[in-house]
Amino acid sequence: MQILHKTNLEALERARMLGSDGVLSLLERKGLVGRGGASSPTAKKWRECRDTPADERFVVCNANEGEPGSFKDKLIIRHNAETLIEGILIAAYIVGAKRCFIYLRGEYDHLRPRLQEQIADVLPRANLEGVSIEIVRGAGAYICDEATALLKSIMGFRGTPMYRPPNPTTEGLWGRPTLVGNVETLTCAAQAVLFDDWDANLRLFSLSGNIKNAGVYEFPLGVKMSSVIDVARPQRKLKAMSFGCFGGIMPVDENMSITPEAVCKGNCKQGNYSIIFIDETNNVVDISYSIAKFYTYESCGKCTPCREGTIRILNLLKKIRSGRGVKDDLQLLRELAMHVQETSLCNLGQTCGNHVLTSLEHFPEDYEAYLARKK
């Protein structure tokens, strides 16, 4: 796997040789884009942070990977943390930051002692004067995946998202320009700087669900779904697949080539490829219900449509599953999901209805089955 290639501090050395502008144009040429979900060009973000006048800048590595079905960052932290740390140091060198943070999600706290050791090992050898990397321990808030919420959490506040602009790149931690990068992006940045044959097209796929070979795999963008299924080895005939929680539940189309556009018709910019496979023994409504529970649990409560809407969606699904549902509930569910998506502030609210809308569109028979099961 390309992501596991180690750079052994040679990437930082090369970055020093190329200089700040050299590295940025190299990353631009190689086409590195953010892997957290937004797919924005990395060089542009780094340049914006560097060129904003300020007395201090910060680099933050977002290791708050909370998307259900996604566990690629864990693989990197476990097996290639040295390269990740080097990526953070390169970013710090480019934008001129002294204080760097890794926001490690609470669920990955068991990885922290080793990560701390690796930071202590790499940092002195990197020879960057005054640069420090601190681990900030998350505490189970998925919403802190969102950059502004994450920064508020680091500053010791409730992790609720903020209005943009200003973007964190120009006004982030304590009002200073802050570069927020995903674990995969920063690791790729170090590798892109060092390796001439680095392939910008490879993405990490987290595969899980009713399959034998669950795990993290590397595939090029545009890979055929049939190749992914071959690797995944489903236990039984597949019925549906869910792209994380936010991508929605869709029928399995073996001929589909996996690109952000194909995944959700370009509505969601997919930088994070996690696929949960669902086989024919399951009712899609049950999965939708577990996703609704997740959103209810993780909504930060800042804006009303999301806070109340997620609860209402969950209650409606509960009613349908208990056999007390009526046909009108489906229409209500659809309207509710659309309303929450249109009126919420951040990505969580804007995507929390996807699983309902897609499952209603593609698997109406599963809902009908519950409606028919009158109590």
């Binding site: 996604s70 609470g106 068991h110 321990r137 010791g156």
Partner: protein
């Protein structure tokens, strides 16, 4: 993002984690102490402690058991594990057992989807759970708990 905070402040998240590790949970007493030390209003501290699910403002059991509720775990018998744990420990989700041994919670994805179903006990993930494995695990914890009590 202009917060009133001075930038040389210590990282509150880490402070709260350390306090919880030391005292078992974040009590009012602890919050008052942090409030004085860090010069942060206690109302804000309480708001932060309540916001994050991993911070507890009530006493917890010796073993905090969290069951992953992500779709991958549900698809791999997660519900069966959840029901079994509830029955075996004898408390509902969100409650602590009377003997103070277990607290049972449900959590969002813990990133172990490749080894589903998964649970976490005191922060350590346990994966590929089956009813038999849960039984063995609980037996081990119960023995350790009794030994500690005797001491």
């Amino acid at each position: 993002m202009k917060m009133e905070e001075k930038k040389d402040n210590h990282l509150l998240m880490n402070i709260l984690h350390e306090a919880q590790e030391k005292h078992g949970y974040i009590s009012e007493q602890v919050l008052k102490q942090i409030s004085v030390e860090q010069n942060i209003p206690i109302s804000r501290l309480y708001g932060v402690a309540k916001f994050y699910t991993m911070f507890h403002t009530e006493p917890q059991g010796r073993y905090v058991v969290e069951i992953c509720g992500s779709p991958s775990c549900i698809l791999n018998n997660g519900v069966q594990i959840e029901k079994f744990l509830e029955r075996e420990i004898g408390v509902k989700i969100g409650k602590t057992s009377k003997d103070g041994m277990f607290s049972l919670y449900k959590t969002s994805c813990i990133g172990c989807c490749d080894e589903a179903p998964a649970i976490r006990i005191n922060g350590q993930p346990h994966t590929k759970m089956t009813v038999e494995r849960v039984q063995v695990l609980l037996k081990k914890l119960r023995t350790a708990f009794k030994k500690k009590k005797k001491k």
